[in-house]
């Protein structure tokens, strides 16, 4: 069986359902590189996703996987992490999945701050359902549903995450595989909820945000930027012009939800049946 291999690669024969030339492939290899370089134990990692083209990513990594419902990767990841704080939990899903259907979980997972990494394949479109506008679609993009072009304000994941006081907020571009890998590594190393919004061309349905477009419309987070400064991070995230790539905001030291909400670090499946004396003590309360 392939899971005996000590690598994150799936067997050669695996039928990858992505389109040739898609940015998803670059992100997948950046992810493999990051996981390998971090020397993460494949049996103690869980990749969690929702549904979409991006949501298939965990199918192509040789590790534990929870491929749940569209939009619901974050609560599932939270549950996994709370049940077993010894697992490394990485969420990988689409912009529609995390910011659209799953928007409420995006907000409230950040409020909790579990130690999970959230990688969003942000192709600014709904890929799997064939090209409707997504929360991050640019204004004016014409689609079969948005026949007169997208009219809604694009969702700015970095700005909102910073407003939510997420402790680690980064953007990357799948076209820069090295940088993406190293940002993912930082994010996984970070203790707390780390968001990496990865810009990624969809070569079939998004003819607006192409490789060339991203080349022109991105820049690096300026050297002088202080990722510890929330207002500066917000200003950077919302500034007109090219999208800044890199770590926009980073604040160490906040306790994680599992530290605050769990009772001990023992994985739940290893806990013993409730102690009989404690049980009788509880009953005594209702005498």
């Amino acid at each position: 069986m392939h899971d005996s291999l000590d690598s994150f690669d799936m067997p050669e024969t695996t039928d990858v359902a992505w389109c040739p030339g898609c940015g998803n492939f670059k992100l997948l290899s950046a992810m493999k590189r990051a996981l390998t370089d971090l020397d993460i134990d494949r049996t103690r990692l869980v990749m969690v996703s929702g549904i979409g083209q991006a949501g298939k990513a965990p199918q192509y990594l040789n590790t534990n996987m929870f491929n749940g419902l569209h939009g619901r990767a974050l609560p599932a990841a939270l549950g996994i992490r709370l049940a077993n704080p010894e697992l490394t939990v990485v969420v990988e899903s689409g912009d529609g999945d995390i910011y659209g259907e799953g928007g409420n979980h995006f907000l409230h997972t950040i409020r909790r701050n579990p130690d999970i990494t959230v990688i969003v394949h942000d192709n600014m479109v709904y890929g799997l359902t064939k090209g409707q506008g997504s929360p991050t679609s640019c204004r004016g993009m014409v689609t079969p549903v948005q026949v007169r072009g997208v009219v809604m304000e694009p969702f700015n994941p970095a700005a909102v995450a910073i407003a939510m006081n997420a402790p680690f907020v980064a953007r990357a571009y799948a076209g820069n595989e090295d940088e993406t890998a190293s940002i993912i590594m930082e994010a996984i190393r970070f203790r707390g909820t780390a968001l990496v919004d990865v810009l990624q061309p969809c070569v079939v349905f998004n003819s607006m945000n192409t490789y060339a477009w991203f080349g022109e419309h991105t820049r690096h987070v300026p050297e002088e930027h202080d990722p510890g400064d929330r207002t500066a991070a917000f200003a950077l995230a919302t500034a007109e012009g090219p999208i800044p790539l890199g770590i926009l905001y980073r604040k160490e030291g906040r306790e994680t939800y599992e530290e605050l909400a769990c009772c001990g670090r023992t994985p739940l499946h290893l806990r013993k049946a409730p102690d009989e004396a404690e049980f009788q003590n509880m009953l005594d309360l209702y005498r």
Binding site: T43, M65, P75, R81, A83, H105, C263
Partner: protein, 567 residues
């Protein structure tokens, strides 16, 4: 002849401490050696309005709600109107009022609650005055009442403790002085009640069941009448190592439970109908990924927001059919406090054994009901099914004879554990093979056979084997069926109560065929009757239904039983 039961009704606005006082009085009466049960009904508001608590004092365990009112303590501005609704010729009311009481059948003792409470230092003590009156009137000892009051108000400071004690004594005096002939009542029936019985609400019973079952994870969003279970587990979380997560919504709650269970937790979600609507996709996910999960659905009257604090059994069809696609599930509908303790444990054990979602269906009336139950009845039956340590090459959905695959969790062993919401192969990876799909559907559905075989049989009242008319109940109406049959059961009548409604045990079909069937359901359409027709092909000729938001009173059922038996 002394009466063998009494019904004491406390009425008051939200915020006047009706519920607290009824509970304390019930505990006191238990200590005096009586069986007690308390039924609560209340409005959807935090202050004001009019709520009631009915304390039934009986010489044997009786928990059904009754129309009977012997003693009525009315504190709100609505006290008289509500007394009017439920008083009989034998009733005595203690009400602070001067309004005309034309047409009220019972007696009224105008009682200066406010004045007495003020004497003790605060208007807040009116409820305690009421408690004292009941005990004084019944000539029961005051002492245990004071003890319970002290325990209850220990954290509120000495002033409150003293004030309450004083109010109890004042009320007691008033009750003695205004006995109105008194209420001849059988002597205490069981002096062991004080020590060998607990006084539990439905919610507490469920919570105890969950602890006993080794539940160690709850994610839920507040919703009446389901919130209490979350609160219970939060209170005991530290002692038993339970992770309690208040989710941002019901969708998150169930998905967190499924995620947690995938990673090895014993996970529970608690909600009501409207919240369960939102959990259906998650239910379908649990089924598809074969992840055990227990969902408590606490019914209240719908549709939509309906009557959020009232009672109904309107969501049976929903829990039977909710969630898209086809998959097996188990639905339990415990009918008594002790069944609640057991059902929760059975839910966890069946959910783990069959790797299916299990739903426990309760309702407001049952959850808020408090009653005495022998401590010995609370047994820990939970088996702790093993999660296997995986080896290299582990396949989460390996085909087996009964369709159930050994369950591994990530990080425990050398295997890789994959759960997939898409159709998948044995290793959990996505597939589009029609053949694999066919086999996986078969695998998931196959376990239904074993599940049906292991289904809990109904409880029988009377002799169903020889009866020509069977009265059928499920969930909270159990005590009504039992008491009404005892009181009115004609020749050839018997009752069956189903604490498991799905799947039904196969031999129930035999029991039901060829008899006259009547269901008792606290809903408008008779959903259980429909289920029986669908599952057993039997026709239910009589439906005893109610959907006003109130529970049935035992008198309603007695009457219906008489009518149907004589028809």
């Amino acid at each position: 002849m002394p009466q063998d039961e009494l019904s004491v009704v406390f009425e008051g606005a939200a915020g006047q401490g009706i519920k607290a006082m009824a509970d304390i009085l019930a505990a006191t009466l238990k200590d005096c050696g009586y069986f007690v049960s308390v039924s609560h009904e209340y409005m959807s508001r935090i202050r004001g309005g009019s709520n009631t608590a009915q304390i039934r004092i009986t010489d044997k365990p009786r928990t059904a709600y009754t129309r009977r009112t012997d003693i009525y303590i009315g504190l709100s501005a609505e006290a008289l109107r509500r007394y009017h609704e439920r008083s009989g010729t034998g009733s005595v009311a203690y009400i602070e009022h001067d309004a005309p009481s034309d047409g009220v059948p019972g007696k009224i003792v105008t009682t200066p609650f406010s004045e007495m409470a003020a004497e003790c230092g605060s208007n807040r003590y009116r409820n305690t005055v009421g408690g004292g009156i009941v005990l004084g009137m019944l000539a029961l000892p005051l002492k245990p009442f004071i003890t319970h009051l002290e325990a209850a108000f220990a954290r509120s400071g000495t002033d409150a403790m003293k004030g309450n004690a004083r109010a109890a004594a004042l009320g007691y005096g008033w009750g003695e002085a205004h006995q109105d002939g008194g209420m001849p009542f059988s002597p205490p029936v069981d002096t062991d009640l004080a020590v060998e019985h607990l006084l539990l609400t439905g919610t507490q019973a469920l919570g105890i069941g969950a602890v006993a079952a080794g539940c160690n994870f709850l994610s839920s969003y507040p919703m009446s009448p389901a919130t209490g279970l979350m609160t219970f587990l939060a209170a005991h979380a530290e002692a038993f190592g339970i992770v309690v997560d208040q989710a941002e919504d019901e969708i998150a709650a169930l998905n967190a439970c499924v995620g947690a269970s995938f990673a090895g937790a014993r996970a529970l979600a608690s909600t009501s109908g409207g919240g369960f609507d939102l959990m259906q996709e998650g239910l379908s996910l649990a089924a598809m990924t074969e992840t055990p999960v227990v969902i408590h659905v606490a019914q209240r009257p719908g549709p939509a927001t309906g009557l959020p604090t009232r009672t109904e059994q309107g969501d049976l069809s929903l829990v039977l059919h909710g969630g898209h696609g086809e998959f097996p599930r188990i639905v339990l509908a415990p009918g008594s406090i002790s069944e609640l303790v057991t059902a929760m444990q059975q839910a966890f054990s069946s959910s783990s054994r069959y790797q299916v979602p299990v739903i426990i269906l309760t309702d407001q009336h049952l959850l808020d009901l408090a009653t005495t139950i022998p401590r010995s009845v609370i047994r820990r039956i939970g088996s702790y099914p093993s999660i296997i340590q995986t080896a290299c090459g582990y396949r989460r959905y390996a085909f087996t004879a009964d369709g159930i695959s050994p369950r591994g969790v990530p990080g425990y062993g050398e295997g890789i554990v994959r759960a997939d919401s898409d159709e998948h192969d044995e290793s959990g990876l996505i597939t589009e093979s029609f053949e694999m799909r066919r086999r996986m559907m078969e695998k998931r559905l196959k376990r239904r056979t074993a599940m049906a075989k292991a289904a809990l049989p109904p409880s029988a009242f009377g002799d169903p084997e020889s009866a020509h008319t069977l009265f059928l109940a499920w969930g909270s109406t159990r005590s009504l069926l039992e008491e009404a049959l005892e009181k009115t059961g004609g020749e050839g009548c018997a009752g069956l109560h189903f604490s498991q409604v799905y799947p039904l045990p196969p031999d129930v079909y035999r029991l039901l065929q060829g008899r006259r069937l009547a269901v008792i359901e606290n809903n408008a359409t008779g959903q259980f009757a429909d289920l029986l027709t669908r599952e057993a092909g039997v026709v239910v000729s009589h439906r005893i239904l109610k959907s006003s938001g109130e529970p049935f009173a035992v008198e309603d059922i007695c009457e219906a039983l008489r009518e149907i038996s004589n028809a």
